[in-house]
C-alpha cells in the first residue's frame, strides 16, 4: 500500500476571484474605497474626454465644404476638416508645381526601392547598399527635385546612381530567391564559373562599363524643368532637410567623435572646440546666424541659397550631437577589446572599423534614433526663418481668406502626422536592437 500517489494531482483552476474579469477588477480597480472612488473619477474623465474629442472630431465634423463659413453653417461645434483636406497638396508638397508632383513621389518611391533590400532576408552586401543610399541616391533625387540643366558631373553621378539602383534591385531580387549575389549570378548565367578569378573580374567590369555607357547615353535624352527651391515646402521640405541632416550626421559624428578621442593634440582640440561650440548654442541661433550673418561675409550681390544655408547649419549642428552619442558608445567598449585587436595585429583603422565600431554602434542605436527623431522635429524651426515647411504650411491655412481662423484642425493633423513618422522610427529602432543584440542581452 503506497502512501505516495502514483499520478500527479490535476491542477485546479485558479480561484474565481483571481482569474475572472470581475476578480481582476476587484483586485486592480476596486481594492479599497479610496481606490474605487479614484477609479470612478478616472473613468468619468476618460469618458468625457474621449467622447468630447470624438464628437468634435468625427461625428460633428465637416469633411466637405468650400470655406469655413460653410463649415459653420453645417455644424458650428464640430471640426472643419474640409480646410485641411483642401490644403493637403500644400501640406505635403508646399508650393511645388502641381503638374510636377510626380517627381517628388518618384523620388520617394526610388528611396523606398533603394532601401527595401536592407529589410529583406538573404540579401548580401547590405553595407554596400546602405552606403550607396547615402552617397549616390541624393544626386538622383536632388536632380529629380530641382531639375534644370545637367552638368557633366551631375550626368556622371546620375548615371552612377541609376546603374547602382538597377544593380541593387536585381541583386536583391536574385538574393531573395537564390541567396546569391549579383556577380555570382552573372558568372553562372554566362557559364564562366570555371574561369580564373581574373577573367571573371574582367567580365564583371565589362558588364559594369557597358551598362554605365548605355545608361549614360539614355539619360542624355531627357531632362526635367527647373523647380526653384523657393517652391519646395510642406512635409517634403521637412523630410529633405532632416533626411540630409540624418544622412550626414552619422558619418560626421563618427569622424568628430574619433577626432575628440584622438591622440593628436591639434585634431583633438579642434574637434572638441567645434563640438562644444555648436552644442552650447541653440539650433535657432545657428539658423539665424547662417541665414543673416553669412550673406554679409559673401561677395557683393552674391546671395547663397537659403535652403543650402539651412541644410549646412542643420548638418553641422547634428553632427556635433551625434559625435557625443558616438563617443558615449565608444566609452562603453572595454579596453580589452582595443588591446585584443592590437594583439592580432590590427592598426587604428582596422581596430575601429572591425572591432570597436560594430560593437559601439549597437549600443548607440536608441540614442541615435532618439536624436534622429529630435532632428525631424527640430526641423520645424525653419518655419521661423521663412521657409514653408510642414509647420509653416499648417499655420498658413488659418490666414487663407476662405479658411480664416482655422488653426486647431491643421495643428492636430500635423501632430498626428509627426506621431506616425516618429513612432514608426522608434519602432524600427526597437526592431534593430532586437535583431542586432547578440550576447549581451539583459
Amino acid at each position: 500500500m503506497a502512501i505516495v500517489k502514483a499520478e500527479k494531482t490535476p491542477a485546479r483552476a485558479a480561484p474565481i476571484s483571481e482569474s475572472s474579469l470581475i476578480g481582476w477588477m476587484r483586485m486592480h480597480l476596486f481594492s479599497s474605497t479610496f481606490n474605487s472612488i479614484l477609479t470612478v473619477i478616472s473613468l468619468y474623465i476618460i469618458y468625457i474626454t474621449v467622447f468630447g474629442v470624438w464628437k468634435w472630431g468625427v461625428t460633428d465634423a465637416v469633411w466637405v465644404a468650400g470655406n469655413r463659413r460653410e463649415c459653420f453653417n453645417i455644424s458650428i461645434n464640430g471640426a472643419c476638416w474640409a480646410g485641411v483636406i483642401t490644403w493637403l497638396d500644400n501640406i505635403f508638397y508646399g508650393r511645388y508645381p502641381r503638374e510636377d508632383l510626380w517627381r517628388v513621389n518618384l523620388g520617394g518611391l526610388l528611396l523606398f526601392i533603394w532601401m527595401a533590400p536592407l529589410w529583406l532576408p538573404r540579401v548580401k552586401a547590405k553595407v554596400f547598399i546602405g552606403l550607396t543610399t547615402v552617397f549616390l541616391y541624393p544626386f538622383l533625387a536632388g536632380y529629380l527635385f530641382a531639375g534644370g540643366e545637367k552638368g557633366i558631373f551631375m550626368q556622371v553621378m546620375i548615371t552612377a546612381a541609376i546603374v547602382c539602383l538597377l544593380g541593387n534591385t536585381t541583386h536583391s531580387i536574385i538574393g531573395l530567391f537564390t541567396g546569391r549575389s549579383l556577380p555570382e549570378f552573372l558568372i553562372r548565367l554566362l557559364g564562366k564559373n570555371a574561369a580564373s578569378e581574373k577573367s571573371q573580374r574582367n567580365i564583371l567590369l565589362g558588364i559594369l562599363v557597358l551598362s554605365f555607357a548605355v545608361v549614360y547615353i539614355w539619360q542624355m535624352g531627357w531632362s526635367v524643368e527647373v523647380v526653384p527651391w523657393t517652391k519646395w515646402g510642406g512635409l517634403f521640405l521637412t523630410l529633405v532637410i532632416s533626411g540630409v541632416g540624418i544622412a550626414s550626421a552619422l558619418p560626421g559624428g563618427i569622424i568628430l567623435a574619433l577626432g575628440r578621442r584622438s591622440k593628436l593634440p591639434v585634431v583633438r582640440v579642434l574637434s572638441t572646440a567645434f563640438i562644444e561650440l555648436f552644442r552650447s548654442v541653440p539650433l535657432i541661433t545657428v539658423l539665424f546666424m547662417a541665414t543673416t550673418m553669412f550673406p554679409l561675409f559673401m561677395p557683393e550681390g552674391f546671395v547663397l541659397n537659403k535652403l543650402v544655408q539651412v541644410i549646412i547649419a542643420v548638418c553641422l549642428f547634428n553632427a556635433c550631437y551625434m559625435a557625443e552619442t558616438v563617443r558615449a558608445g565608444l566609452q562603453a567598449i572595454p579596453k580589452g577589446q582595443f588591446e585584443g585587436a592590437h594583439t592580432i595585429g590590427l592598426g587604428y583603422v582596422g581596430t575601429m572599423s572591425l572591432v570597436v565600431m560594430p560593437q559601439a554602434l549597437k549600443h548607440m542605436i536608441p540614442n541615435i534614433v532618439g536624436s534622429f527623431i529630435g532632428l525631424l522635429k527640430d526641423t520645424t524651426l525653419v518655419s521661423i526663418i521663412g521657409l514653408f515647411d510642414i509647420l509653416g504650411m499648417l499655420r498658413s491655412i488659418s490666414r487663407d481668406t476662405p479658411w480664416l481662423g482655422l488653426h486647431k484642425e491643421p495643428l492636430i493633423f500635423g501632430a498626428a502626422l509627426f506621431f506616425l513618422i516618429c513612432f514608426g522610427m522608434s519602432k524600427y529602432s526597437r526592431h534593430l536592437e532586437v535583431k542586432l543584440s547578440t550576447g549581451n542581452k539583459h
Binding site: G94, I284, T292, E300, V303, I384, G386, G392, D400, H407
Partner: protein, 346 residues
C-alpha cells in the same frame, strides 16, 4: 522669441551698417533686377488680406498685387517675380543686405524706421489704425467705457504699446493679456478669457468675419493709432524709389480715371482723355524718367488692375476679400473723401 528678437536686431544693425553702405554704392537696383530676370519682393508670414497662400500654393493679397505690379512694370510680365516670405524680425535686414529688392508688407511707416534703418517708405497702399472688438451683449459702445477691462493683444507689436498708452492717457487701467498668434488671441476672446481684443482694424474686421457668429461682436468706433502701411526700398537709389512709388501711384491714378483691367485695351486704343493717353504711354514720354518701357503702366493695369479692383478683390467683398468696407474710410479715393491721392501723371 526674446532671443530671436535680440539676435535679429543685432543682425539688423550689423547688416544695415555693413551692407547698407556696400549694396547702395553698387550698380542700380533696376539693373540688378533686369539682369536677374525677376523681381525679389518681400512679404511677411501670411497675413489675411495682405499676403496669403491659396490651396494651390499661389500668393495673393493687396501687397502681393503691389509686387506683381512692379514686376509687370519692369518686365511686362507679372509672373517674373519671386515672393519672399520673411519673418518680421528679419524684414529690414533682408532688405538691407540685398536679399530683397523691395518690401511690400504690413510695415508701418514711422519716423524712426524711415530715418534710422537705411530704408525709404513710399506711398502707403493702406491706411490702418488700431481698434477694439467687443461682444455686443457687453453693452460697451465706446473704448472709453472699458475701465479695468481685460484686453487680448499680440505681443511684441506696436499694438501692445498703443494699448498701454491709450489706457494711461485715459486712466482706464486696462490689463493686457498677450499672445503670439492671432488665432489664439481670438480663441481666448471667444471663450471669454478677455472682454475685448485689440489690433489693426482691417485685420480685426477680417478675423471677426470668420468668428462662428460674427453678428455677436462689434468693432468700436475709436481708432487709437495711425498705421500707414507702405512699401519700402533701400535708401539711396532714387531711380528704384521712383519706380516703386509711381507704380503705386499709377494704380491709384488709374482708378481715379476709371481705367480698369477690363477696359484698358479699349482706353488705350480709343480714349480722348489726354491724362489717360499719357499714363498708358500713347502720348508723351513719361516712361523715360523711370527707365522703363512706354507701356509700363498699361502692363500694370492690364495684368494687375487698378487700386480699387485690388482693394475689392482682397480687402473688400470679392471672393478672396476679407470684407472691410471702403466707403468713408481713409482708403477711399480723395474724390470720395479718402486719402488715396496720386500726384498728376504728366
Amino acid at each position: 522669441m526674446k532671443l530671436q528678437t535680440l539676435l535679429a536686431s543685432v543682425a539688423a544693425v550689423a547688416a544695415v551698417s555693413i551692407a547698407g553702405a556696400t549694396v547702395a554704392s553698387a550698380q542700380s537696383t533696376l539693373d540688378i533686377v533686369k539682369k536677374r530676370g525677376h523681381l525679389r519682393c518681400q512679404v511677411g508670414q501670411p497675413s489675411p488680406g495682405y499676403y496669403n497662400l491659396d490651396a494651390n500654393g499661389n500668393w495673393y493679397g493687396l501687397d502681393v498685387a503691389n509686387c506683381q505690379a512692379v514686376a509687370a512694370a519692369i518686365f511686362g510680365d507679372k509672373t517674373k517675380l519671386e515672393i519672399q516670405s520673411v519673418s518680421s524680425q528679419m524684414r529690414f535686414t533682408a532688405l538691407a543686405n540685398g536679399e530683397s529688392d523691395m518690401l511690400s508688407r504690413t510695415a508701418t511707416w514711422t519716423m524712426s524706421r524711415d530715418t534710422q534703418l537705411g530704408l525709404d517708405f513710399l506711398q502707403p497702399n493702406f491706411y490702418d489704425g488700431q481698434g477694439f472688438t467687443v461682444r455686443k451683449d457687453s453693452g460697451i459702445t465706446s473704448a472709453l467705457q472699458m475701465k479695468g477691462a481685460k484686453v487680448c493683444v499680440l505681443t511684441g507689436t506696436t499694438t501692445e504699446l498703443n494699448l498701454a498708452d491709450f489706457s494711461r492717457v485715459n486712466n482706464l487701467n486696462i490689463s493686457a493679456v498677450t499672445f503670439e498668434d492671432f488665432n489664439v488671441r481670438d480663441e481666448t476672446y471667444l471663450n471669454g478669457g478677455c472682454d475685448s481684443t485689440t489690433g489693426d482694424k482691417s485685420s480685426m474686421a477680417g478675423n471677426l468675419a470668420a468668428f462662428p457668429v460674427p453678428s455677436d461682436h462689434i468693432i468700436l468706433p475709436e481708432t487709437i493709432s495711425k498705421e500707414p502701411l507702405a512699401p519700402a526700398v533701400r535708401h539711396g537709389d532714387s531711380q528704384w524709389r521712383d519706380i516703386v512709388t509711381w507704380v503705386v501711384f499709377a494704380m491709384i491714378n488709374a482708378e481715379e480715371l476709371g481705367v480698369t483691367s477690363a477696359n484698358v485695351d479699349d482706353m488705350r486704343a480709343n480714349s480722348d482723355n489726354v491724362n489717360i493717353r499719357r499714363m498708358l504711354g500713347v502720348e508723351g514720354a513719361l516712361h523715360e524718367g523711370l527707365g522703363l518701357n512706354k507701356d509700363w503702366a498699361y502692363n500694370v493695369i492690364k495684368q494687375v488692375g487698378n487700386y480699387g479692383e485690388n482693394y475689392e478683390a482682397y480687402m473688400g467683398s470679392g471672393k478672396l476679400g476679407i470684407g472691410i468696407p471702403r466707403a468713408g474710410s481713409a482708403n477711399a479715393l480723395w474724390t470720395d473723401g479718402g486719402l488715396m491721392y496720386s500726384p498728376p501723371m504728366r
